[in-house]
C-alpha cells in the first residue's frame, strides 16, 4: 500500500467517525492552545520586564561602593575597617577612561521641598548633566543641569512635583527651597511613569556637590557609566575595576555590575518561568495523548472484522499498523493546527486586553506544542496499531 493511499484511506476513516474525531481533536487543540497561550503570557512578561529595563538606558555599567561578594573579603575587614568611600574624584577618573562614553555620579537622599507655602518630602538625586542622556530621560520644560554647573544651585523637578507645586505650569525660573538651600528651577522632566519600581515623576535632581553637602557625605551612592557600544561593555568594566583598584591602593572594594548581567538574570528567570508553564500545559497534551490511545483501542475493537477483512484481502501487518498510525497522525495534526489557531487567538485577546504586555507566543513554543501533540498522538497509537496488526485473521473476521 502506498503512503498516499494509506493517508487517504485513514483520513476517510477519521472523517467518517465525526463526533469521536471532533472530541479528540478538541482535546488535542485545547492542550496545544494552552501551551501557546501560557508561553505567550510568560514570554510577554519577560519582554515587558526586559523592555522596562532597557528603557533605563543602554550599555550601562553601575559602580557601587563595597563588595557584593564575601569571597575572601577585603583585608581591612578583619581590622574592622569599613570599605573605602566611592568618591566624586573616583567618578571623574572613570569619566576620563577612553572606554567610557559618559559618566554620571549619583547621590540619593530625602529632603523637604517648599515653595509658596506648599511642602513635601521628596527623593533627591544629586548628579551631573550627563544623567539625562545616560538614563534616557526627557524634559518637558526648560533645560537640565548645565555641564560644569556643580556649584550653581539648579534643580530639575519631576513632572508630578512640578504640577503639584506650580499648578499654573510656570515652573522654570522659580526659586524653591530644598532643605536649607534655595535652588532655581531650571527644567521639568517629561512624565515617564514608573520603571523598575522607581518613579521618576516624583524626584528632584540637583548638582551632585550640593547633594553631598546637603546629605553630609563624601561617598557616592552609585556611578552610572555608559560604555561606547554593546561590545565595549566588558572592556569598560575591566578598565573601571582596574582603575578603582589602583586608586584604592590595590583593594577591590567596589562592585561593578553591568546592565546586561542584570538583564540576563531577569531574562533567565522569566524564561525558566515560561518553560515551567509550558511544561504544565504540555501535561494536558499527554492527557490528550491517553485519550487518543483510548479511542484508538476502541476503534481497533470496533473494527476487528474490518481488520480481519483487510488481512483476508492480503494486507500485511505493516499496512494495518500504518493505517492506524496514520489515523492518529491525522487526529493529532488537526488538533495541533486548530490548537495553534486557538492559542494565537487567545494571545491576541490578551494583547487586546493588556496592550502593554507583548504577549506574542514564541515560535519555539508553538512548534513544540504541535510537535508534542503529533508525537503523543503517534506514541499513543503504537499499542493499538500493534494490537490491530497482531489480530488473528480468522478470529478477527468473525468479529472476536
Amino acid at each position: 500500500m502506498t503512503l498516499r493511499d494509506t493517508l487517504a484511506l485513514s483520513f476517510r476513516t477519521v472523517a467518517s467517525y465525526r463526533t469521536r474525531s471532533l472530541l479528540i481533536v478538541l482535546a488535542m487543540a485545547l492542550g496545544v492552545a494552552a501551551v501557546v497561550v501560557l508561553t505567550a503570557l510568560g514570554d510577554g512578561a519577560r519582554r515587558y520586564v526586559v523592555g522596562q529595563f532597557s528603557s533605563l538606558g543602554s550599555n550601562l555599567i553601575f559602580v557601587l561602593p563595597g563588595r557584593a561578594e564575601t569571597s575572601g573579603g577585603f583585608p581591612g575587614a578583619a581590622l574592622g575597617q569599613t570599605p573605602r568611600d566611592l568618591t566624586l574624584e573616583d567618578a571623574r577618573f572613570i569619566g576620563r577612561l577612553p572606554q567610557v562614553r559618559r559618566m554620571a555620579p549619583l547621590n540619593v537622599g530625602e529632603a523637604e521641598l517648599t515653595y509658596g507655602g506648599r511642602l513635601r518630602e521628596v527623593t533627591v538625586l544629586g548628579s551631573t548633566a550627563e544623567l539625562l542622556p545616560i538614563r534616557n530621560m526627557r524634559l518637558s520644560q526648560g533645560s537640565f543641569l548645565a555641564s560644569g554647573s556643580e556649584r550653581s544651585a539648579q534643580i530639575v523637578l519631576g513632572s508630578t512635583l512640578a504640577r503639584e507645586f506650580f499648578p499654573d505650569g510656570e515652573a522654570v525660573g522659580r526659586r524653591v527651597r530644598l532643605g536649607d538651600n534655595r535652588f532655581r528651577v531650571s527644567g521639568v522632566l517629561a512624565p515617564q511613569g514608573e520603571a523598575m519600581g522607581f518613579n521618576s515623576d516624583e524626584i528632584a535632581i540637583i548638582p551632585v556637590d550640593y547633594a553631598q553637602e546637603m546629605f553630609n557625605t563624601n561617598s557616592l551612592f552609585r556611578i552610572l557609566i555608559e560604555a561606547r557600544s554593546r561590545s565595549g561593555i566588558e572592556p569598560a568594566k575591566a578598565a573601571i575595576s582596574h582603575l578603582l583598584k589602583q586608586r584604592h591602593e590595590g583593594e577591590e572594594d567596589v562592585t561593578v555590575i553591568t546592565q546586561d548581567a542584570i538583564l540576563a538574570t531577569f531574562d533567565r528567570i522569566l524564561r525558566a518561568l515560561t518553560l515551567g508553564v509550558a511544561g504544565i500545559a504540555a501535561i494536558s497534551l499527554a492527557v490528550a495523548g491517553i485519550l487518543v490511545m483510548n479511542v484508538m483501542l476502541v476503534a481497533v475493537a470496533q473494527r476487528t472484522a474490518e481488520i480481519g477483512l483487510l488481512k483476508a484481502l492480503g494486507a500485511p501487518a505493516a499496512d494495518i499498523r500504518r493505517l492506524f498510525f496514520a489515523e492518529a497522525l491525522w487526529l493529532s495534526l488537526a488538533g495541533g493546527a486548530i490548537g495553534y489557531v486557538l492559542g494565537n487567538a487567545g494571545a491576541w485577546a490578551i494583547r487586546l486586553a493588556y496592550p502593554q504586555l507583548p504577549a506574542w507566543p514564541p515560535a519555539w513554543a508553538s512548534a513544540a506544542g504541535i510537535a508534542t501533540a503529533v508525537a503523543t498522538g503517534i506514541i499513543a497509537s503504537l499499542l493499538p496499531a500493534a494490537r490491530a496488526a497482531r489480530l488473528d485473521p480468522v478470529l478477527a473476521l468473525s468479529g472476536k
Binding site: 483487510l310 494486507a315 480468522v394
Partner: protein
C-alpha cells in the same frame, strides 16, 4: 494446484483439545469446482481457512501452485493471499464507510496499483457485475444481492487462481442466492478454481466434485 497432506489443526476449548482438522489429505486441480459439505463443527470452514492461508495448520504440508507455503512468514502469506486467493463471505464483509467502487478498489490499493489503472479496472468490474449505477453507493444503501456482487467483484479484481466461498448465499433469499451462484459459476467457467463451503445440499450438488466432512476428516469425496 492445491495439495494438502496430513493437515492437522487443533483448537483448545477449556482443557479439551478439539481436532478441527485431523490428518486431511486433499488434492484440488486448477479449474475445479468443489463443494465442501458437512454439519457444523465438522471442520469445513477451518479447511477453507487453511486453504486460503488465513489459518496455519499445526502439522502437515501445504503446497500451492507447486510451492510449499506451510512455513511462509506472515508477510509472505499476506502476499500469497493477495495474489492467488479471493474470499467470498456469508456476511459480505464490506467496509461500511467506503462506496461500492472503493470497496472493490481495496485489493488494488493494497497491491499498490497506480490510481489511473485502478479506476479503469474498477469501472470494468462494476460493469461486469452489473453495478455501474451503484458505484457511489455505500453498503447500507445496497441490497443483499448487490452487496454480495460487490464482495465477489472485490474478491476477483486481482484475478486470483482460487475463489473460496464460505456460505456465499447464507444471508440471501433463494432467488438472489441462485443469481449469486450463477455469477460464481460463470467465474469458474472462465477458469477460476471455485471452492464453496455450504450446508445447503442443493447448492453443494451443483459443484462438480463433492467433499463431505465429519469430525475433522474427509468422509466422502465424489466427482
Amino acid at each position: 494446484m492445491i495439495r494438502l497432506s496430513a493437515i492437522t489443526r487443533l483448537f483448545r476449548m477449556g482443557d479439551q483439545e478439539v481436532r478441527a482438522l485431523n490428518g486431511i489429505d486433499l488434492d484440488i486441480a486448477s479449474g475445479e469446482y468443489v463443494s465442501i459439505m458437512g454439519p457444523s463443527g465438522s471442520g469445513k470452514s477451518t479447511l477453507l481457512n487453511v486453504i486460503g492461508l488465513l489459518d496455519r495448520p499445526d502439522s502437515g504440508r501445504y503446497e500451492l501452485d507447486g510451492t510449499d507455503v506451510t512455513d511462509l512468514s506472515e508477510t509472505e502469506r499476506a502476499r500469497v493471499r493477495r495474489e492467488k486467493i479471493g474470499f467470498v463471505f456469508q456476511s459480505f464483509h464490506l467496509v461500511p464507510r467506503l462506496t461500492a467502487a472503493e470497496n472493490i478498489e481495496l485489493p488494488l490499493m493494497l497491491e499498490g496499483v497506480d490510481p489511473a489503472e485502478r479506476k479503469a479496472r474498477v469501472d470494468a468490474a462494476l460493469d461486469a457485475f452489473d453495478l455501474g449505477d451503484r458505484a457511489r453507493h455505500r453498503p447500507p444503501e445496497l441490497s443483499g444481492g448487490q452487496r454480495q456482487r460487490v464482495a465477489i467483484a472485490r474478491a476477483t479484481i486481482l484475478r486470483p487462481t482460487a475463489l473460496l466461498a464460505d456460505e456465499p448465499t447464507g444471508n440471501l433469499d433463494h432467488r438472489i442466492g441462485a443469481e449469486v451462484m450463477a455469477l460464481l459459476e460463470g467465474l469458474h467457467h472462465a477458469g477460476t478454481t471455485l471452492i464453496v463451503v455450504t450446508h445447503d445440499r442443493e447448492l453443494g450438488a451443483r459443484a462438480h466434485r463433492h467433499i463431505a466432512m465429519r469430525d475433522g476428516e474427509i468422509v466422502a469425496d465424489e466427482k
